[in-house]
């Protein structure tokens, strides 16, 4: 059903940037909401069986979102802090993303995220550009942000398959 929606992901090591482009079958208003309203972000950004839980969020320039990836038992696996640095409603927003401990103490290095939105023919295109000063940290971030939960899901699946043998 969604196979015709454009998707592209490229990593430019020299520019220390990854660019994700994705089209969504919805108008700009809804897509903007899904990327900026923390209640909606909590619904889709974590892979099963994990959930994202926002402790607090303030979507305005200089505002922050503090959230965690939570396992099915309710344990926070990893906290992250997002600081909004620029907002042009329904067009673009930028944030600085950094992992943190449960007391909001950020790690030393983070990454810059730049989101651009545009609507055409009822579909909305989102271009996400992620910049990280260190390629090594960048890979670590991508691993943790996207893969960590995924790996654990695979481990769970392996356990399940073993128990069925």
């Amino acid at each position: 059903m969604n196979n015709d929606l454009f998707f592209d992901f490229t990593v430019d090591k020299e520019a220390k940037t990854a660019v994700i482009t994705r089209e969504f079958n919805a108008g700009l208003d809804l897509v903007w909401e899904a990327f900026t309203n923390h209640e909606l972000l909590d619904k889709w950004t974590a892979p099963q069986p994990f959930t994202a839980k926002t402790k607090y969020a303030d979507f305005e320039v200089g505002g922050k979102r503090f959230y965690a990836m939570v396992d099915p038992d309710g344990n926070a696996l990893r906290w992250a802090l997002q600081k909004y640095t620029s907002i042009s409603p329904k067009t673009n927003f930028k944030m600085f993303n950094v992992f943190a401990d449960a007391d909001e103490n950020p790690e030393e290095f983070g990454s810059d995220w730049d989101y651009t939105f545009s609507e055409e023919d009822g579909k909305t295109k989102v271009v996400i550009s992620i910049y990280n000063e260190s390629m090594e940290r960048f890979e670590k971030m991508l691993e943790m942000g996207f893969v960590e939960g995924f790996k654990m899901t695979i481990v769970n699946l392996d356990n399940l398959l073993d128990s069925l043998k």
């Binding site: 969604n2 992901f9 994705r22 079958n25 950004t45």
Partner: protein, 88 residues
């Protein structure tokens, strides 16, 4: 990308570009450190060749990330469909 076709010496690589043998050796040293290229001494010459399995590993890694990102977006697709229903 020359060495993708087969192993070569730094001199042979330099002959194909307007760069010195020293410059080629420097680049090759970095690629060897990254384990993307391996060297093989034959007599007085050192031949360099691409480690194809390592290049494939990087491709696989990017492909895995790609699939993970896409699966998040598929969840968002479903959420957007539900939101569209609500606003009808």
């Amino acid at each position: 990308m020359l060495i993708a076709a087969g192993s070569m010496t730094p001199n042979a690589i330099a002959d194909n570009f307007q760069v010195s043998r020293q410059a080629v050796s420097k680049h090759l040293r970095i690629l060897v450190e990254c384990e993307l290229v391996e060297q093989d001494a034959k007599g007085r010459e050192i031949y360099y060749q691409l480690k194809h399995e390592k290049i494939r590993e990087i491709d696989d890694y990017v492909e895995r990330l790609r699939q993970i990102i896409q699966s998040r977006f598929e969840d968002l697709d479903d959420l957007l469909e539900a939101m569209k229903e609500e606003t009808k």
